[in-house]
């Protein structure tokens, strides 16, 4: 269900209200997001689609606390993140957000194991506990046998699996995926999408994903379209996701 009157469930995991984002380029102001509302419940899998420049990645950055809105609020699991200081926001990201990027963005000089371990270095977990978590995450993505491989020794699909393992290793509140299959062939893309579906269905993860690919978007529970900064359409709506925008 798509709503423009922010009538989502007040217990939603993600609540976005009146979100605006404006960039200044030269003397010109570019409004990327315009009064956007969004509610996402725990365990949902939402795809954002839209043409280039429509604000998909900007929305994802705002949801992940990587950027701050010009106006409006973003709340995740009861934390209102839009007014947090930079330091607090960094801590919040470490606890609540798992990022998956189009280009995988693994550290090339670290092995798969070391890449996946990175978010855990920020915790107080012991060495053995960290090892246990990393091995579990790599098993979930099917790369238990490749823990000592460097990114250059892995295929694109495998690199993205490592990136997904890095995103889930600290058991974040939700995953933000920015074109996770954008750099992969169809077969690898299918495998990655199957893995993300499995994370949602079997591990109860909440996933918000940006994609250009309708085939990939069709795997999500809900697809929301962003055009010129406004959420204009929702398809496959399940009752627990509402979205809207004030144009």
């Amino acid at each position: 269900m798509v709503s423009v009157d922010n009538n989502g469930n007040s217990s939603s995991l993600v609540q976005v209200r009146g979100l605006n984002k404006t960039y200044r380029r030269g003397g010109e102001q570019i409004q990327v997001l315009q009064g956007l509302n969004l509610d996402v419940d725990k365990g949902d899998f939402v795809a954002f689609m839209g043409p280039s420049g429509s604000g998909k990645t900007t929305l994802l950055n705002l949801l992940g606390g990587l950027d701050v809105p010009t106006a409006g609020t973003v709340s995740v699991a009861g934390d209102e993140i839009t007014h947090m200081s930079s330091g607090k926001l960094t801590e919040w990201r470490a606890r609540h957000v798992g990022f998956v990027f189009q280009m995988y963005n693994l550290i090339p000089v670290l092995t798969a194991y070391q890449n996946v371990e990175l978010p855990l270095l920020l915790t107080r977990l012991s060495n053995s506990k960290r090892r246990q978590h990393v091995e579990t995450a790599l098993s979930i993505v099917g790369l238990a046998e490749r823990i000592h491989h460097f990114p250059r020794q892995l295929s694109g699909g495998q690199e993205q699996r490592v990136a997904i393992a890095r995103a889930i290793v600290s058991d974040p509140t939700f995953l933000l995926c920015d074109e996770p299959t954008g750099d992969l062939d169809r077969k690898s893309a299918d495998e990655i999408m199957a893995l993300i579906e499995e994370l949602v269905s079997q591990h109860g993860k909440t996933v918000l994903m940006v994609t250009h690919d309708p085939v990939v978007a069709a795997r999500a529970h809900t697809t929301l379209h962003l055009e010129k900064g406004v959420l204009v359409e929702a398809s496959k709506s399940r009752q627990n996701v509402t979205a809207g925008g004030v144009a």
Partner: protein, 383 residues
Amino acid sequence: MKFSQLILANLFRKKVRLLLTLGCFAVALFLFAFLAVVKKAFIGGADLASANRLVTINRVSIIQPIPLSYRDKIARIPGVESVTHDNWFGGVYQDEKNFFPQFAIDPENQRKVFPELIVPEDQWNNFLKDRQGAIAGARTAKRFGWKIGDRIPIKTTIYGTNSAWEFVIDGIYHGKRPEDDETQFWFQWDYFEERVPERLKGLTGWYTVKLTSPDDALRVAKTIDAEFANSPYETKTETESAFAASWAKQFGNIEFLILTIGTVVFFTLLLVTGNTMAISVRERTGELAILKAIGFKDHSVLFFVLTEALAIALVGGLLGLALAILAIPALGAALNGLLPNLVLSKSMIAVGLGFALVVGAASGLLPGIGAMRLRVVDAMRRI
């Protein structure tokens, strides 16, 4: 430390670049140590000089003699504890390359005025009884393999005949401090006086005056020079450190030269390493952005960059200093004692390491601050 793997992995990311940067530090620190040692050898005499000693020379030049009769007059001046006189011999042992300083000394007062140069009592007593006796510095004795009782012929180049003067090694002196000059060769004044040409008898090269208190230095120096003013042998008296400094200045402004070279090396090193660190950080903009996205704080990123820079500086610096420790004795040997105090002291090593770390920190600071201020969104857009 749980971040060590990440820091090490980044350090070894480009091995050739790492080696070249380490090499850059090593060469710079080697050069620093080398210059510091040479500077110390040239002008370190001023640092080693005792605060309560004066040197009196002929006002015209040190190569002009002054009368021996001045000794008693100087000794009577209030504030003078003891006074001794020396004369440069300038002889050649076997070959001109075998340079070491030789002095005719006043055995009666030598040890009172220079207590830091130690001769065992029995050896000194033998020396006093031996007209041809000589005391050699430990380094010179070691250099030529001399032992007590050896007969040493030294050809004079200044005092008339071209024949060799024969000496007997009665003792070997050591300095109390590692920097003390252990290359000198002392022999009896009476033996010298007896063999020099008639016109030089009753004259000496210079006096060294030991004061009861360093506070009296200026007054005693003025009194000595006033005492002999308007005589055929006017004197110039200054503190031992001033004398050593003016002696070093005869070679040119070594300190300025070394400081200039050192400054050029410092800034070249800073620019090279700063540029290397900046390139290294710029190459990793995306990775640093990812680290920040997954929760690494700004100061953690600064810490990583600074730690890398400091690790390179420390390892490179230690390599350079280790090379210097190995090379400087060889250099000293190659110079045949021309520069007697080629010692790389602990303080020089500490200053060198400090210098390396300052350069390392300075070279890592700007790129580190840049990385710290990096906005994840901007960096991700650039990938």
